[in-house]
Symmetry: C2
Subunit: 244 residues, 2 copies
DNA sequence: TTTTTTGGTTGACGTGGATCAACGGGCATG
DNA sequence: CATGCCCGTTGATCCACGTCAACCAAAAAA
């Protein structure tokens, strides 16, 4: 597993991702107390894993650059993408419960993460007022997000799922200072399908259909949202009837 | 909202649910430090809600008796059950992220919960070594569970989902000292269906099919597992082919 | 450059589960 | 006791999405 470690210390107080990351909302003085938090940085190349299911849990990770997917797999080979993560988001929370990771985290592009040793996080939580609460918020947000995905998988139709996915991506790109209307997806149709509980052909067809209807412009992984309120309408209502 | 509050203090150290609940794995001395944790007990009658989406978040809840479901709903009326909770399990974690609850928690039978004011939990986490870690584990376990549900909803077929559901219920009843093979479901077919992303008719048919095949005996909400390894096989493999 | 591989699109067809509908048993209520 | 409602079961039909297959463009490798 050829991964690169480098000893460069990264101070949260110097990082431009604070507003998206674990230290969000903490005071300046608290922020400086976090300079001990990050153990090291680690680069992960495209397609490589940051951790795999079964690996002993030692740290959580904050994405400094790049993006990841997480997936779980059954013995029979079926797998399911459980999430896509972007800069500032936290990976590895699944490992706390059993002291072993329960999913794989794989880089969708050459990426870099901050390694936050869990022991250090627990320790600093006692010292830095606000860190504990902030960490709880991050975990809670993940739970709420998961409920949203369950809603999507359990009660939405294919096109509604894809529309919801695109709007979610758009919103997260916006939060990172990128265009809300135009972005580049780092994952394949198959990965999107796995996340949305659909086959890649269905995802492809839905993309084509959105394009025909003038909702978006698709060019491979490059997406332009033309009528995002149309997409929003599609998620919430799907015209009439048909509410399965 | 006719709910009953009573001021009866409940000490975790006196509770026979410790092994299932938040204080699991904590030392005796730590346990006694938790006697401040539970603010009050609260009774919730069948069909009543413990909290609703949008309610301000103030506390998490440990189920002392009875059982609950949580669900989220879209504006258009569609709803999705996101989980069923039994004694010792923790409710309300979704509220931390935004300071408001994001789902409804509804009692499936007359129930009682321990109210754990979140502020007190945070405060005690600083004083009681181990509480913080235990709480993190509870949240992490919820995340892992959610991933399992996503797997179920995203890549399993109707009968596999129901088999997985039954095995999960069995395992949780076992952990509570009840029979692994015979139990009473507190939720309707429709609620099971909502949780599993299926219509109630499909759930009913799957039950009938399992009965025909001699895997289980069904009598309304009363279930007896006859061939649980058969169910397990069904979850993991579904004979051959057909891996959608 | 050509070749190969990988990812995406599109069409034809099949099917699992949704939908619609009828019916029946349990359980609560008067 | 009868009445009514909720819940579960079962059948017939439909359709959204999966499956299978051919093809093409882009990217990677040679």
């Amino acid at each position: 597993m050829p991964v690169t470690m480098n000893g460069l210390k990264t101070a949260c107080s110097q990082c431009n991702l604070v507003e998206l990351c674990l230290p969000f909302g903490m005071s300046d003085s608290e922020l400086h107390q976090l300079d001990e938090l990050v153990g090291a940085r680690r680069k992960v190349k495209r397609q490589q894993s940051l951790y795999r299911a079964g690996d002993p849990f030692e740290a959580i990770y904050a994405i400094r650059a790049g993006s990841f997917k997480t997936d779980v797999l059954l013995e029979d080979g079926r797998d399911q993408v459980t999430g896509f993560q972007m800069t500032g988001e936290i990976l590895g929370l699944d490992g706390i419960s059993t002291e072993n990771h329960s999913c794989n985290a794989i880089a969708l592009e050459d990426s870099e993460v901050c390694v936050i040793p869990y022991a250090k996080l627990e320790q600093l939580s006692h010292e830095v007022e606000g860190l504990q609460h902030q960490f709880h918020k991050v975990m809670s947000r993940e739970i709420v997000r998961d409920h949203g995905v369950m809603m999507l998988l359990g009660s939405m139709r294919a096109e509604e799922r894809l529309a919801a996915f695109l709007l979610n991506m758009s919103q997260r790109f916006t939060a990172r200072g990128f265009s809300a209307a135009e972005f580049h997806l780092r994952m394949t149709r198959e990965e999107i399908g796995s996340y949305l509980g659909l086959k890649l052909e269905t995802v492809s067809r839905a993309f084509s259909r959105f394009q025909e209807e003038g909702l978006i412009a698709v060019q491979q992984k490059h997406i332009r949202l033309i009528d995002s309120s149309g997409l929003r309408r599609l998620v919430q209502h799907q015209t009439a009837s048909c509410g399965r």
